[in-house]
Amino acid sequence: MARAGRLFRHGGGTVGSDVDDAYLVRRAQEGYVDAYADLVDRHGGLAYRVALRLLGNHHDAEDVAQEALVTAWQQLPGFRGNSSFPTWLYQIVTRRALNRITRTRVTESLDLLGDVSDAGAGPGQHAERDLTVDAVTAAVSALPPPQRIAIVLHHFEGLSNAEIALITGSSIPAVRSHLFRGRRTLSKTLAEWR
């Protein structure tokens, strides 16, 4: 029966869901483009999510996620598998997002509220919820980049300090210190808003 079930798995399940990331990475490195498409299926969401939290708006997040996923493909031949594929992807997305933040720092916060409302529920609905989302998003986006990255990776992605240190090429004490400062700043902003 189990085998019969497999024969009908084409209905919509992710192709290649039986195998681990390392297998897909190896096949993709050999030039099986489909294997990379499966990796994008699995982890494309991560790229977009992190970019959205770091940049605060849908448009930039989509751009950065796309850039990061294409960059990952281009750099795949050099990926030795020392870390997991998601960790490596976090690294690429974070770097890309950081580039964009530093390039557009002057204007970045101007249109945040509008942009984020678009990405939420329908217009006019859940007005209070949107206000909260906007306030948190704006507060996160106002953090200096190192604190923002640490806060997003820890509090939004649930990563440990050690994982964040690996991703950012930093030390665990430095990550901890960015988190401490980021939490203070964010708390003060949110307390004022409330």
Binding site: G45, R49, E62, T132, R184, A191
Partner: protein, 215 residues
């Protein structure tokens, strides 16, 4: 530092830069970390008896509630993202083309990736095959394709005319315990048949690599 007996009603005051400890000596950053991580209600033995700590944790927990609820929300990934990435990668990987007809009306060509896709789909239908990936190449062009796929910086020169001959590499993961030889031969047979039927390729070679098994 907060004074004894005074309720903590101002997070900003509490978190002013000079403030590192509560009146009881507890580290403010560690309390904030505890609340932000969602453990404001889980007291240590000291916190169970400490009004300062409890008040601070309550305040921090309240301030962080919106952050925690936003973080818990599922983010909808734009539907177009995957397609956009795929199309950019296709541009990076130079494609090999199979020309099926060349006549006065023009040429009919089929991308190698389409050939690979058909072989892959055929392989996935074979009992015992858990995962299959297809890659199309041609003995004469194989090294070019290989380089295009690995180096991702191939000029348009890799767009080749390969006629009606195709070489397809299939990498499959099989069910442990199945006769691998029989599974692989069935994959070969079906892929060849499908490529002949759907694409009209005459000379088809299908290389099957069983490179893993799953229980």
């Amino acid at each position: 530092m907060s004074s004894p007996g005074q309720p903590i009603d101002d997070v900003n005051l509490l978190l002013s830069d000079a403030n590192q400890h509560l009146a009881c000596g507890a580290d403010i950053d560690e309390l904030l970390e505890q609340a932000a991580d969602g453990y404001a209600g889980q007291f240590t033995s000291h916190q169970r008896d400490c009004v300062y700590c409890q008040a601070a944790l309550r305040e921090f927990g309240r301030v962080w509630e919106p952050v925690r609820s936003l973080a818990a929300e599922r983010v909808a990934v734009p539907a177009a993202l995957k397609g956009a990435v795929a199309s950019q990668i296709r541009k990076l990987v130079a494609d090999v083309w199979y020309t099926l007809q060349l006549n006065d009306g023009g040429a009919i060509r089929i991308a190698a990736r389409v050939v690979a896709r058909i072989a892959r789909e055929a392989a996935r239908d074979v009992p015992g095959v858990r995962v299959a990936f297809g890659r199309s190449s041609h003995s004469r062009m194989a090294s070019l394709v290989e380089r295009a796929a690995l180096g991702h910086r191939h000029p348009n020169a890799a767009v080749g005319v390969l006629g009606r001959t195709a070489v397809v590499d299939l990498a499959i993961v099989a069910q442990y315990g199945d006769e691998l030889d029989a599974v692989a031969r069935e994959v070969q047979r079906r892929a060849v048949a499908e490529l002949r039927r759907k694409v009209g390729l005459r000379d088809v070679t299908v290389n099957v690599t069983v490179d893993d098994v799953i229980t």
